[in-house]
């Protein structure tokens, strides 16, 4: 049996699939700061037999929490002489343009813990100044005295030649075996010294936390008799082993959210929809990501704490490309200074939560609006709901500003929330050259199925899929994942005359690195699969496009094919290509998969007779564009394979509802997924 546990802000979810394909779902409270407790709680609550678990997948917020709460280790940085302040200078950008008293993000390593070592590589990777061991010895002595716990090493041009970083790390380990140490090239061989330094520093900063968390969780799993393979979800949409995650914990930074996107790609492939827009609405945010022909998009331009007003901290590690906006069930509706209605990004969180929760929340949220709009039912809440109180809050905080009643205020909030989410969905689709008509939406999280069908109609998306276990879909995605490692090497080469031998040698080196890693993880050659991506651009440009390239080895006749794919990709994203302008290779990017066996999915029983047995009630529900309609409400657990019905309708399950608009058609597929056809041509 395979088990996945995913730690979220409020709940730790468990999804398991048995040998026969049965799905087991469980939830327990998340238990900060000892997150492993929540994992053990949910395992115990599920009653699963420890001996039957042969693979354990885990998604965790430990790393991102340690970063955002500044609970990592006392960390030092070793740099090339002359470049001590790269981390503090950063890139000099000031997103908050007109704020003349802005504060830039404070470096994770203060100046006195940044030590210089004499050494220098050229941009070509030639040694200009040999590594000075005495400087390393001196730095280590100083840092020992300062009792640092972790050291990052990042040298100028190390992406072109890693030797000095490796030698430095070896020397540090020799002098001080207990300290955690991370060379930047362990994470990436991409150029841009500030970004690579920041990445190494943040990795070092969380190494001790990650080690102690993973060790503790591993021990407790062992104590509980769970002896199967253990994997942690990485930000690149694949997993890695517990041991590897201790070395490169920064690769785990977006552990949870990407699993849902990955799950959407798997589900899409299973049901013959390789083009997917994954749409996940939780308590505080809505996230979306586009999957093009089965491939989850990965970027290395990822930041933590970056906002419209702050430069944030770059992490140059592969992360699934997700657009996230502050619009979830708990997002607060408010009136701005100019008199416009806004929803989010401030959230009522779990406490006090929406007004409906009755825990002291006074500000109306999207959830409150959905309740008054009839899309949610008070009967479906865990607690007693005072509808009068909710109406009062809507009237006071929103209605009074426009001279409208509580119901109209609820409609307005839903429309604004939908518009915000619509703009985010456009950002990942239309604005990147994709036609939404070519895509199906997988809607999940507590709020995805509620807003998904309406948004699909707006955006001309043909079909919305609401998966089984939609509210714990991220954990489901983990069960379906493979081990994945990304290797990125910057090398600027004019593509027309780049020797194929040079390029193939680079691929070979990356594949050897991958195979060594897989061997350590117990992955055999028969499980291994490679994907080849070339980051290319026109000569003179800075930004690159990812070109999906032919497999190794590249032959001379592949050159024109790769070039034509580059022109096409550029035209796709930016509406034009420049066929007469020379192209450059910037990075070679190898994606290495260690394929794991996937659990089989179980089919659900066929629908017997009409849907009357599944019908719970009829109530008035608000639909954008159609107004208030008498709407039948169905119980998802009573719908069988093959069931169909015409919207308007609502399907309820314990943790989410699916709102199907007038004109849309609902059907249930053999696996129990709800399929909403939107009538788009």
């Amino acid at each position: 049996m395979k088990v996945a546990t995913d730690i979220g802000g409020t709940f730790t979810d468990l999804v398991a699939i048995t040998e026969t394909g049965d799905l087991i779902l469980e939830k327990a409270h998340t238990t900060p700061p000892n997150f492993d407790q929540g994992v053990m709680d949910v395992l115990e609550k599920s009653g699963l037999d420890a001996n039957s678990i042969d693979a354990f997948f885990h998604g965790t917020t430990t790393i991102i929490n340690a970063l955002t709460e500044r609970k990592g280790a006392k960390t030092a940085l070793i740099t090339t002489k002359g470049f001590r302040d790269i981390l503090e200078l950063a890139r000099g950008n000031r997103p908050d343009l007109f704020n003349l008293v802005f504060e830039k993000p404070e470096p994770f390593v203060p100046r006195y813990l940044r030590r210089e070592v004499t050494e220098r590589m050229s941009y070509k990777g030639d040694v200009i100044t040999p590594l000075c061991e005495a400087d390393i010895v001196k730095a280590v002595e100083y840092l020992k005295k300062e009792q640092v716990e972790a050291i990052a090493v990042c040298y100028i041009n190390s992406y072109a030649n890693e030797a000095h970083e490796r030698q430095t790390v070896a020397k540090i380990k020799e002098l001080w075996p207990e300290v955690y140490v991370c060379p930047s090239v362990d994470i990436t061989k991409e150029w841009r010294e500030y970004e690579r330094t920041s990445t190494a520093v943040l990795n070092a900063y969380v190494m001790p936390v990650a080690s102690s968390y993973i060790n503790r969780l591993g021990q407790r799993l062992t104590d509980a008799g769970i002896s199967g393979n253990r994997y942690i979800m990485q930000s690149n949409g694949g997993t890695t082993t517990f041991d590897q995650a201790k070395l490169t914990p920064i690769n785990v930074v977006e552990s949870g959210p990407v699993a849902g996107v990955f799950g959407a790609s798997i589900l899409g492939n299973l049901i013959g929809e390789p083009n997917i827009i994954a749409f996940d609405v939780g308590g505080t945010t809505a996230k979306c990501s586009l999957i093009d022909r089965g491939e989850v998009k990965v970027t290395t331009s990822y930041y933590i704490e970056k906002t419209e007003r702050s430069a944030g901290y770059p992490i140059m590690a592969p992360v699934v490309d997700i657009v996230e906006i502050g619009n979830g069930g708990g997002s607060i509706a408010w009136i701005d200074e100019g008199g416009s209605l806004k929803v989010g990004p401030k959230s009522a969180g779990a406490l006090p939560g929406p007004v409906a929760y009755g825990k002291g929340g006074m500000d109306p949220t999207t959830t409150d609006a959905n309740l008054i709009a009839g899309r949610l039912s008070a009967k479906n809440f865990d607690m007693e709901v005072s509808l009068d109180q909710v109406r009062g809050a809507l009237l006071e905080k929103v209605g009074s500003a426009f001279g409208i009643g509580a119901e109209e205020a609820a409609e307005s909030i839903i429309r604004v929330a939908d518009s915000n989410m619509n703009n985010a969905l456009k950002l990942i689709s239309v604005r990147r050259g994709y036609d939404p008509r070519d895509f199906a939406m997988v809607a999940f999280g507590g709020g995805g199925p509620m807003h998904g069908p309406t948004l699909a109609k707006e955006l001309n998306i043909r079909k919305v899929i609401v998966p089984v276990a939609a509210s714990v879909f991220s954990a489901w995605g983990m069960l379906m994942s493979d081990i994945r490692h990304d290797f990125i090497q910057t090398k600027i080469l004019s593509f027309a005359d780049a020797p194929m031998d040079t390029l193939n040698a680079m691929w070979r080196e990356q594949m050897e690195e991958a195979n060594a890693l897989f061997a350590a993880e117990g992955i055999g050659p028969e499980q291994t699969m490679f994907r080849f991506i070339a980051d290319m651009r026109y000569m003179g440009q800075e930004h690159t496009v990812q070109v999906s390239a032919p497999a190794y080895p590249w032959k001379e006749e592949d050159r024109s094919e790769i070039l034509s794919r580059f022109h096409k990709t550029h035209e796709h994203f930016y509406t034009f290509s420049l066929p007469d302008t020379p192209a450059e290779i910037v990075n070679l990017h190898l994606v290495a998969y260690g394929q794991l066996t996937k659990p089989a999915l179980q089919e659900i029983p066929a629908q017997a007779g009409d849907l009357s047995a599944a019908r719970k009630e009829t109530r008035r529900v608000f639909f954008s564009g159609d107004g208030w309609l008498d709407t039948p409400i169905y119980d998802r657990s009573k719908l069988g394979w093959g069931a169909t019905a015409q919207g308007p309708l609502v399907v309820e399950e314990p943790t989410t509802v699916t709102v199907v608009c007038p004109g849309q058609t609902l059907s249930v597929d053999r696996y129990g997924n709800l399929i909403v056809e939107t009538e788009v041509q």
């Binding site: 302040d85 908050d96 007109f98 008293v101 941009y123 518009s419 930004h543």
Partner: protein, 578 residues
């Protein structure tokens, strides 16, 4: 609106948000395809959407200096041709420093009317710094220019695209007069295609919501902007503040006197520069819009930096410059380094208002863009390269926190420095050092942020170096009892051992292999009495080597152990100050 239909305000807000989203889209799309580092790293460009009367609705800015320059550019095109002579698919090119929205000729503006079913409903415009537009020097701007004809080709609202078709003769002429036509061609198409995206998106909004709703939402956007700005203006302190100062140099060794009188009343924010020097022979002159843009920057910072930029917000704002002055120069003045005087304008207004707005304005910063232009051939590839880049430096401290380090000046913004690893690959240089200038200037209860040091080693012979580092004579100002910061300068250390004296301005100085230029930028001004800085903070400053142990004693009155940085005691002066 022909028919006064009551439109749901929430619908207007949704369309309004969509317009802002369109503006963001066309802003970012351009950087992605550009071939000029000054566009994709410095983000020295802006784009915006205006209504049919040219009133700015929303603007995406990479740098502050372009604030509100889209709208005058559009108006200049309308004035020249008349609305009735504009057609769907037209694009006009404009970089004339002495027309609406003019800066220097390197900044190339484009304007496109947006029609919906034959009705002119809006404009899209953008303005970007091109790597080269011809003229006497690579990069087209030079600190020794004395008239505009040395600074490249001038377009005074020329039709570049006619009903969707590129006007080939215009492009042909351009191509023959530029150093890097391939790069400029890329930037030109990037600008045009981003305008076309804007046109398409606005039409889509009209399809979806109806043209009346879209027009209504434009009105609402501007009305809301004005209402909020007027409300905040009423809450501001009222009075008159004056300030005057000399700019170091016009490029020919002459200091330039600037002065301002700012008057804030319930209804108006007025900046009057009457009395500033007449236009100069050097290239620090500016057309009429630059000073106005400079005032807008400080206005935004005190009225609310978070407000969306549109012409409604600027309704209470007025600027007076004398025609023929350095801030409103006449043709054919040189304007290459107009931005230096624009930033002096910002600094002047900032300094005048700082005592009255301690929440929004702190001590002075490095002030200058500290522009570097370097041209030559790459030592390994033999290709021509051109560096055009600003330099980071220190910002002033303000009430509540120390000054920031490693930031570009106020005229820049979402501007990125060029990574050392890229510079060494792309240009004929090696970077020997990039670090903080820990000169310990800017002492204060809150300490000024350190400047920066950047050292370039020439890897080839016959490379030329041009730079304009303003504030190279008079240091950055401290505030509220804080000490002054330092100055910007650079100096050459040639391979033969010759070391040149520090200077601030140079044009096309030849550098040969292994000649080195060391560029140092100013530390920001301090804020508040340094004797009031907590002793533990002073100790950490010394441990972090932002200041020396001697400075800890001299400026802050704190005695430190030079080994451990433990606080040993305080001076009499500090005791007396407590």
């Amino acid at each position: 609106m022909a028919e006064q239909v009551k439109i749901n305000p929430v619908t207007l807000d949704i369309v309004k948000d969509s317009l802002i989203a369109v503006s963001n889209e066309i802003f970012y799309a351009f950087a992605q395809t550009s071939m000029s580092p000054i566009i994709y790293e410095t983000l020295d460009y802006a784009s915006g959407i205006a209504d049919a009367d040219g009133r700015l609705l929303t603007q995406g800015n990479g740098v502050t200096g372009f604030i509100g320059m889209i709208s005058p550019m559009i108006c200049a095109v309308v004035d020249k041709y008349g609305k009735e002579n504009l057609h769907p698919g037209d694009v006009y090119i404009i970089n004339d420093p002495f027309m609406g929205g003019g800066t220097h000729m390197s900044d190339v503006g484009m304007v496109m009317p947006i029609f919906y079913k034959d009705e002119l409903i809006a404009f899209a415009g953008n303005k970007a710094h091109w790597s080269d537009i011809g003229g006497m020097a690579p990069g087209s701007f030079s600190t020794d220019a004395t008239n505009m004809f040395q600074e490249g080709m001038c377009f005074s609202g020329t039709k570049l695209v006619d009903r969707g078709q590129l006007v080939e003769p215009v492009w042909d002429l351009m191509r023959s007069n530029m150093r890097y036509p391939q790069i400029s061609q890329g930037d030109m198409w990037g600008q045009i295609s981003s305008l076309r995206t804007g046109e398409k998106r606005v039409s889509e909004l009209c399809d979806k919501y109806g043209v009346d709703v879209v027009k209504g939402s434009m009105e609402r956007l501007i009305a809301q902007g004005e209402a909020v700005a007027r409300k905040r203006l009423k809450e501001m302190p009222k009075g008159t503040w004056e300030m005057d100062e000399y700019m170091d140099d016009d490029g020919h060794g002459n200091p330039v006197h600037l002065q301002v009188k700012v008057t804030i009343t319930d209804d108006e924010f007025l900046a009057d520069f009457t009395g500033s020097d007449p236009q100069v022979i050097g290239c620090v002159n500016s057309g009429a819009t630059a000073a106005y843009a400079g005032v807008k920057v400080v206005f935004m910072s005190v009225v609310g930096p978070e407000l969306a930029v549109n012409d409604g917000v600027f309704a209470p704002l007025r600027t007076i410059c004398e025609p023929g002055s350095v801030l409103q120069a006449n043709r054919p003045a040189a304007t290459s380094c107009y931005y230096e005087s624009m930033i002096y304008v910002i600094d002047l207004v900032w300094r005048a208002l700082a005592p009255a707005f301690p929440e929004s304005l702190g001590a002075g910063h490095l002030l200058s863009v500290c522009t570097v232009l370097m041209a030559g051939k790459h030592q390994d590839f033999g290709n021509d390269y051109l560096i055009i880049e600003p330099t980071v430096g220190g910002w002033g401290a303000c009430r509540g926190h120390d000054g920031q380090v490693g930031q570009f000046c106020v005229g820049d913004g979402e501007t990125y420095n060029v990574p050392v690893e890229m510079a060494e690959t792309r240009y004929g240089i090696r970077v020997d050092e990039h670090s903080l200038n820990t000169d310990g200037a800017g002492a204060g209860e809150f300490r000024g942020g350190s400047g920066a040091v950047r050292t370039y080693r020439s890897m080839n012979d016959n490379q030329t170096f041009t730079a304009s580092f303003g504030r190279n004579k008079w240091p950055v100002w401290g505030a509220a009892g804080g000490k002054d910061g330092s100055i910007n300068y650079f100096q050459f250390m040639d391979a033969d051992g010759t070391v040149s004296p520090p200077t601030g301005i140079v044009a096309r100085r030849v550098m040969n292999k292994n000649d080195v230029v060391r560029m140092v930028t100013a530390t920001g001004g301090g804020y508040g009495d340094p004797l009031k800085r907590p002793a533990e903070k002073v100790a950490m400053d010394a441990k972090n080597e932002y200041i020396t142990v001697a400075q800890a004693e001299e400026d802050y009155g704190v005695l430190l152990d030079p080994e451990t940085f433990a606080v040993l005691g305080v001076t009499e002066a500090r005791k007396n100050a407590q």
